[in-house]
């Protein structure tokens, strides 16, 4: 062999073999060394350097929400919380410091001491630190204006809470690990059990964190505590030290109050959640008129729209801790997606080592519902960061970045006035005997009579026609945030009254209503545009549509008074007259002429089946979710039969929309067929205005009809009857009014009247909803007011006076 010739001596060959083995054994060492120093060097370097840097985050400053006049609707109210590290609260700080001091005093000999000796030594250093702590607590109590006892009892509360959390976490971890081990068939040896136990006992984050002892202190107290936190003093050596064997006691500076932190606390406040409105009753219907103004306190203003914030950040996807993947927080995922979609924001949000300054942590405030929730990404803001290098002591401070303010198109004072007039205690939104239908003998049905005095709830939307801005959006009843926090069952509960009133629901955009007669001007304009009717063409009102079936497709005037509009007018009505009298036969006929396709197109043109993307709800969740409307089976208008089409001519049958849809459709009409989707958030993106290309003659007919419906004696929206008298609904001076009444049938509210068990259920409330849509302006239509009152009965009896008061409110706020 080659080797044998080179190394004739076997011994030398063996030596070579040994050398080879040694060198060979160094290969895996070198390989691993290379792996660490080359492949993983950057990652490990970063991890190692992380421990050189201490970071302290300050809270974000959330953007405010303003109304159109700049009034503040939601804002952060800053305040300070005074917190102390947990170790200091329990007093363990003294023990740890004593241990460190003892170690330092002995130096390299520490490892030679027995545990008992070590404990002994520590015990000798401990008193100095304990005394210091006592003085620190006294100083802190003085600074925050509490007695020492009060401060101590708060400390005990914190200790209790953290201890129980720790126990809970330990028990949970232990359980989980035992279960995992059993599932994997691992043997539970003593060693394994001990390992599980030690892992389960790992301290939870709260043990290392500061805890708030005094929250929401005033500024002076906050500043005083900040100064206290920055002070350090010389530690006094323990008394009686010389009596024992001399221990090297190095002098040391310690914080005056160790572990003291002043945290930016802060609250989200809603300054105009409650307002006092003076209601002028002099323009009310006669039965409710009064000369004195009534002071009404309205609360929960715009609650549905503004929404609220919550203190808990939810987890949405589990992490795999074994693989080092942490669970993501639901809102965090959304935030990541938002940053990805908005690179300029991301450039500011990420720190130099890739951490998001706006990332969510536990106990952050997160927008939950309404605009707070939907605009969370813009409102959130970025945290400030104080970075301290522990080796050099260098500090760098990065200021927090304020979130963007969101301005709404809402006028909160207008909103307040409208909510006041819709408040049942004012009387307009209440059942009165003059509203109720009487039988031919003039008697009330007993069930109806029982309802007198009960409150009525509903919705009102005010749109600016020229811009599409939503000036007011009131849904009654509402709720206050305090109520929601302290008595959620009063808002979300199951008792019968709540099933009817549904305070959590924003009726303006989230509740489906049948359009009823409100839709007639749109049908008229649409039919004329499509050529199903000539501009001046008349259609006879025959009382019932089908000649041989007097019980189907009846006109209301036939049903109630056994007459027809043709008789009433003396001639067949044209479009405007049919609108004025709200003739069903006319519009049944139009429905038939339009047919399923035509009817569907008309409705869709005017916005049914479309959402408005107002930015008030967070992608499909919650009670502010916009209802897009349906036609036939769904939003696109499928499966409409001829019978349906006829019904839909008068706004009944398989069709539903919201008060906002109604306002928007009328605004489109007033704009001569130009669609401009409504906006609630100023400056929010919006699709381009579209032109429906409506026939101007159709529009003219519709507008004339609307004008006459309210102003002409024969108009259904002209007067209300109280007792024997008829009085005009609208009495605002100097303004022109166009409008239409409507009745929407509804399904009854079914629930358990006793509120006791699921078995018995009965009808809690039933009846028709009362619609009124009005356009108002000094010379041309400037604003649309869309009012609906749940179970208000047929026609404009209930909603009319409310709409009238809204016109007065508009005048009072300077819009007219």
């Amino acid at each position: 062999m080659f080797l044998k010739s080179l190394f004739p001596s076997m011994f030398h060959r063996r030596l070579l073999l040994l050398l080879g083995l040694i060198a060979f054994s160094f290969v895996p060492l070198t390989a691993q060394l290379g792996r660490l120093s080359i492949l993983r060097a950057d990652d490990l370097r970063q991890q190692a350097e992380k421990r050189l840097v201490r970071r302290q985050w300050t809270n974000t400053v959330r953007g405010s929400i303003l109304d159109r006049e700049g009034r503040i609707l939601a804002q952060d109210r800053p305040s300070f919380d005074v917190a102390v590290d947990y170790q200091v609260i329990t007093g363990d700080w003294a023990l740890e410091k004593a241990r460190l001091a003892a170690r330092r005093s002995v130096g390299a000999g520490w490892g030679d001491l027995k545990p008992a000796e070590r404990e002994d030594l520590i015990a000798r250093f401990r008193p100095a630190y304990q005394v210091h702590l006592e003085r620190a607590w006294d100083a802190l109590a003085a600074a925050v204006n509490l007695t020492r006892d009060e401060l101590d009892s708060r400390r005990d509360q914190v200790i209790q809470s953290v201890t129980s959390k720790q126990e809970y976490a330990t028990a949970k971890r232990r359980e989980k690990e035992l279960k995992d081990a059993q599932e994997q068939g691992e043997e539970l040896t003593e060693a394994a059990l001990r390992a599980i136990e030690s892992r389960a006992k790992q301290p939870i984050a709260e043990v290392k964190a500061p805890h708030v002892l005094v929250s929401r202190v005033q500024d002076e107290v906050g500043f005083a505590c900040q100064f206290l936190a920055a002070e350090d003093v010389e530690l006094e050596p323990p008394a009686g030290l010389d009596a024992e064997a001399p221990i090297a006691f190095r002098s040391e500076r310690v914080d005056q109050v160790p572990g003291l932190r002043v945290i930016d606390g802060g609250d989200r406040e809603y300054p105009i959640e409650t307002a006092t409105v003076e209601v002028d009753r002099s323009t009310f219907p006669s039965a409710l008129r009064a000369d004195e103004k009534q002071k009404v306190v309205v609360s929960g203003l715009a609650a549905h729209i503004l929404g609220k914030v919550r203190d808990k950040v939810y987890g949405s996807s589990p992490g795999d801790v074994a693989k080092g993947v942490r669970p993501t927080i639901g809102d965090a995922q959304l935030r990541t997606a938002y940053l990805k979609a908005n690179p300029p924001e991301a450039a500011v949000a990420y720190t130099t080592d890739g951490e998001d300054r706006g990332a969510y942590r536990d106990n952050d405030r997160v927008g939950d519902t309404g605009v707070e929730g939907a605009q969370e990404d813009l409102l959130r803001g970025l945290r400030g960061l104080q970075t301290t290098r522990v080796d050099t002591g260098e500090r760098i401070y990065q200021e927090p970045a304020r979130g963007q303010d969101t301005r709404l198109t809402l006028d909160i004072m207008l909103q307040a006035r409208i909510q006041a007039v819709m408040d049942p205690q004012v009387g307009l939104a209440m059942v009165h005997d003059w509203q109720l239908a009487r039988d031919p003998q003039g008697q009330l049905h007993p069930a109806e009579a029982a309802k007198i005095g009960t409150p009525l709830f509903g919705a009102a939307v005010v749109l600016d026609i020229d811009t599409g801005d939503v000036l007011a959006m009131v849904s009654t009843p509402t709720f206050t945030r305090q109520e929601l926090r302290e008595h959620p069952e009063r808002v979300y509960g199951n008792d019968p009254a709540l099933l009817v009133s549904t305070p959590w629901l924003n009726r303006c955009i989230a509740k489906p209503y049948q359009p009823g007669s409100i839709v007639k001007p749109l049908i008229l304009a649409g039919a004329i545009t499509r050529g199903n009717l000539h501009a001046d063409q008349t259609i006879a009102c025959t009382g019932h549509l089908l000649p041989n079936e007097p019980d189907k497709y009846r006109c209301w005037i036939y049903k109630r008074f056994n007459t027809t509009h043709t008789e009433q007018l003396g001639h067949d009505p044209d479009g405007a007259e049919a609108l004025m009298g709200s003739c069903n036969i006319f519009f049944f006929t139009l429905g038939r002429r339009l047919g399923p396709d035509g009817i569907r197109d008309v409705y869709r043109d005017f916005g049914v089946g479309r959402g408005f993307d107002l930015g008030v709800d967070r992608a499909g969740a919650g009670p502010a979710t916009e209802y897009t409307g349906i036609l036939g089976d769904g939003p696109t208008g499928t499966n409409i039969k001829m019978g349906d089409a006829i019904q839909m001519g008068i706004g009944q049958g398989p069709v539903a929309w919201t008060p906002l849809h109604a306002a928007d459709a009328y605004a489109t009409l007033a704009r001569n067929g130009v669609r401009m989707p409504p906006r609630l958030i100023a400056g929010r993106h919006r699709e381009e205005p579209g032109d429906l290309s409506l026939d101007p003659r159709g529009i003219a007919q519709a507008m004339e009809g609307l004008q006459r419906a309210v102003n002409d004696d024969l108009g259904t929206g002209h007067t209300i009857t109280i007792g024997e008298k008829k009085e005009p609904i609208f009495n605002a001076p100097g303004v022109k009014v166009w409008g239409k009444t409507g009745t929407a049938t509804s399904s009854p509210v079914v629930g358990d009247p006793d509120g006791e068990g699921p078995r018995e259920s009965g009808v809690l409330e039933s009846g028709d909803h009362s619609w009124f849509v009005v356009m108002v302006g000094r010379d041309r239509p400037r604003y649309v007011i869309s009012v609906v009152v749940d179970f208000g009965g047929s026609g404009g009896k209930v909603s009319g006076p409310i709409a009238n008061q809204i016109i007065h409110a508009l005048i009072a706020e300077g819009y007219l």
Binding site: M10, I22, L29, G34, R45, A48, A195, Q202
Partner: protein, 407 residues
């Protein structure tokens, strides 16, 4: 030659000429001596890096580093002392030295010895407290063992048979058993590679040795239940680490994970003087002065530093094995091989620990780790190698460890 006059007489007076001759003759042993010296000085510096967060200005050193320097000086002196007498004396005394070593080991284990004399460190009774200094009998036994083994095998050949391997095994088993009972499994484990190195060099049949290794590897899992709990924990911890499971990172694996982190942070050329110190301090690497000193070097000097250190150990081994190759006398040859076996095994285990491919055992790094007793012992090894190198007999004795039916 400038030191010789024209007539062959020396220009150098007295003992100096034979001394100079001898020193030149030592040849490759100088590699070993230089390596030992460089490693020792590197160790002193590494301890300074590990101890002081603020970089010291040389020649100012941290207190522990200064102590280490003192140990080095004392150890070199001891090493010179052991290099003076003829090494064959140690051979004659080998059994006697071994007996003393065994006696001390037994003394350690005897239960009623007071703690003032045998103070347990980290739960192991491995040290005798002699007042100002501490003695670690297992280190002494290592050297005595190598001497005994080499002395036993020097003229035999029966170890070429399977049965002939038994006596060396018994000679090994006794100290291994006693040390394991301290308990110090790490140190006792090192005896096995040393034994194997000596057997390989002596010419035992490789077949036999391979079979024994295979049997041991297959039997190893059966020995797992016999391990103590914390030893099992460490093995489990290593497996978790290899799988990438971070569960034990804050617990049993903390030392290993921290070591890997700071080693990686060192990068290729090291983190620099200031940064390395702060990284080590604030990452709280445990046992910085002792078990983990290799990680300290890697943090300070990076991959290059680590490779240089391994290179120095390799240089030590090359020097020693070359010396052994040049030595024509069987006892000397085997002594060097045994010592090299111990050193190489210890370096392998400790460095493996530092880079995270082996579980943490309580093994220090020769020449680099802090410790007076081990520094003296390891320089004694250097001294023995030098001793053997200086005394190459001019006459060739009978050839040893040459077998026609080899490999």
């Amino acid at each position: 030659m400038p030191y010789t006059r024209a007539d062959g007489a020396s220009r150098l007076p007295g003992l100096v000429r034979p001394a100079a001759e001898a020193l030149r003759r030592a040849g490759p042993a100088w590699l070993t001596v230089v390596a030992s010296l460089l490693l020792s000085l590197l160790g002193v510096y590494a301890i300074d890096v590990a101890e002081s967060v603020k970089p010291t200005v040389l020649p100012d050193l941290s207190p522990t580093a200064l102590r280490q320097l003192l140990f080095v000086v004392v150890a070199i002196a001891a090493s010179v002392a052991i290099a003076l007498p003829n090494y064959r004396l140690f051979g004659y005394a080998s059994w006697f030295l071994m007996a003393i070593g065994i006696a001390l080991l037994v003394f350690l284990l005897v239960p009623f010895v007071p703690a003032s004399i045998v103070r347990p460190r980290n739960g192991a009774r491995g040290w005798i407290d002699l007042g100002p200094v501490d003695l670690q009998p297992s280190e002494l036994v290592k050297i005595a063992y190598v001497l005994v083994l080499a002395w036993y095998l020097r003229f035999r050949s029966n170890y070429r048979t399977f049965r002939g391997l038994l006596p060396p095994a018994i000679i090994t088993a006794i100290p291994v058993g006693l040390i394991t009972l301290q308990p110090d499994l790490g140190t006792s484990m090192l005896f096995i590679p040393a034994l194997f190195a000596v057997l390989v060099a002596a010419g035992a049949k490789l077949k036999h040795l391979v079979i024994i290794v295979l049997i041991a590897m297959m039997a190893a899992p059966a020995a797992y239940p016999l391990l103590k709990p914390h030893q099992k924990e460490r093995i489990v911890g290593l497996l978790l680490q290899v799988e990438g499971d971070p569960r034990a990172d804050l617990g049993i694996n903390m030392q290993s994970v921290t070591a890997q982190r700071v080693v990686g942070a060192g990068g290729i050329a090291g983190a620099g003087n200031e940064r390395a110190r702060t990284l080590l301090h604030f990452n709280a690497l445990p046992e910085r002065h002792t078990d983990m000193v290799f990680a300290v070097i890697c943090t300070r000097f990076g991959l290059l530093g680590g490779l240089a250190t391994l290179g120095l150990y390799l240089m030590w081994a090359v020097g020693a094995l070359l010396t052994s190759g040049l030595c024509r006398e069987p006892f000397g040859r085997l002594v060097i091989v045994g010592l090299t076996g111990f050193l190489a095994a210890q370096v392998f285990v400790n460095v493996g620990m530092n880079v995270g491919i082996l579980p943490i055992v309580g093994i220090t790094l020769p020449y680099l780790s802090h410790g007076g007793s081990s520094m003296v012992m390891v320089w004694l090894m250097t001294g023995l190698v030098l001793n053997i190198a200086l005394r190459r007999p001019k006459l060739t004795l009978r050839t040893s460890f040459e077998y026609a039916d080899d490999e």
